[in-house]
């Protein structure tokens, strides 16, 4: 079973990965975006770690709703409301249970990903974070490791796609050949699940 501590470790591990990967995320965001994805997420997840320490929410759902709210208010780019909505909706779907199972998390995350698709209007294949998250959620029923592999594969598979959402979509064919930064950061978020689980 996964308790609030697991979810705090998940957020902390994500923050560490984002710190480590910030330069790469910003580099991915340079040719097809506005070169701020790494620094935006860095600011956001630093704030998430700080608020979780300060307020010490006691349930998995409360950890994720607070983290999501913090991302919406601190990021300043589109990734704030998108990741914020992902975590908030996932948290709300987990309810107020003190512990949740991996299947509960898989189902809740599916609700969160659906909410992100609705918010941004993106579908699989549009070269967005959805391309990493949808396969990850599908594989989460098997294991965290399978979800991690699916997310990483999904992120890499955005490279040949033509962007249909966000700023990169203005570039048309020129967006082809670059990995989507949002899909890359989504893969970090999912990979952090295995770290939180100590795998």
């Amino acid at each position: 079973m996964l308790d609030a501590d697991f979810f705090r470790r998940w957020m902390a591990a994500t923050a560490v990965s984002v710190e480590r990967g910030a330069e790469r995320l910003t580099a991915l965001d340079s040719p097809i975006g506005d070169a701020d994805h790494g620094s935006n997420l860095q600011r956001g997840f630093r704030a998430v770690v700080a608020v979780l320490e300060k307020e010490a929410p006691g349930t998995p759902g409360a950890v994720l709703t607070l983290a999501g709210r913090q991302l919406i208010s601190t990021v300043g780019g589109a990734s704030g409301p998108l990741y914020g909505t992902l975590l908030r909706r996932t948290g709300k779907a987990l309810g107020d249970a003190a512990e949740v199972g991996e299947q509960d998390l898989a189902e809740a995350l599916r609700t969160g990903v659906d909410a992100v698709m609705q918010l941004g209007g993106a579908a699989p294949g549009d070269k967005t974070m959805i391309d990493a998250l949808v396969p990850a959620v599908a594989a989460l029923g098997d294991s965290f490791a399978a979800a991690r592999a699916a997310a990483e594969e999904g992120a890499l598979a955005t490279t040949p796609l033509r962007a249909r959402k966000g700023r990169a979509s203005y570039l048309g064919e020129r967006s082809v050949g670059h990995q989507d930064p949002g899909a890359a950061s989504s893969a970090l978020l999912i990979a952090a699940l295995t770290e939180a689980a100590g795998e």
Partner: protein, 149 residues
């Protein structure tokens, strides 16, 4: 806010009417402030519509600050609803996310689907005539149909 001006006997219909508030959200603080100034200026000398810009990331850079958006919406809320116009990308997504939160924006706050500059002018002019939120929203959205050639 108290409704001190409402229901005064013998007052004209619009004297006590609460005006719809307008919030203008742009990635750029300068753009939001300038469009607010433009729309207010073009609205002329009618009733003074509460208009608030919410531009930039709050630290002087380009982006969207949910705190600025929430503060602007609270500042223009007179109880008749708030129409929010945005430019693009994170401005749109931030307002949608705040609306989904439920308690971050005044009740009767709407994201209006409209072109930013033309929609803002239409919204402010319409609101200054004492129109309700639905009419302000319709006028702003109608700005999409204004062709220039």
């Amino acid at each position: 806010m108290s409704d001190v001006a409402e229901g005064v006997p013998g007052a004209g219909a619009e004297d006590g009417a609460k005006l719809v508030g307008i919030v203008l959200v742009s990635h750029s603080a300068a753009v939001a402030a300038s469009v607010a100034e433009l729309a207010t200026g073009l609205a002329g000398g009618g009733a003074t519509v509460p208009v608030a810009p919410a531009g930039g990331d709050g630290d002087g850079g380009l982006g969207t600050s949910s705190e600025l958006v929430s503060a602007a919406a609270a500042a223009v809320d007179r109880g008749a609803g708030v129409a929010v116009l945005t430019d693009l990308g994170s401005a749109v997504l931030t307002v949608k996310a705040l609306l989904a939160e439920g308690d971050e924006l005044p009740p009767d706050t709407r994201l209006v689907d409209a072109p930013f500059v033309e929609g803002a002018v239409a919204a402010v002019v319409t609101a200054s005539a004492g129109a309700d939120l639905a009419a302000v929203e319709a006028a702003a959205a109608d700005a999409y149909t204004y062709r220039k050639v």
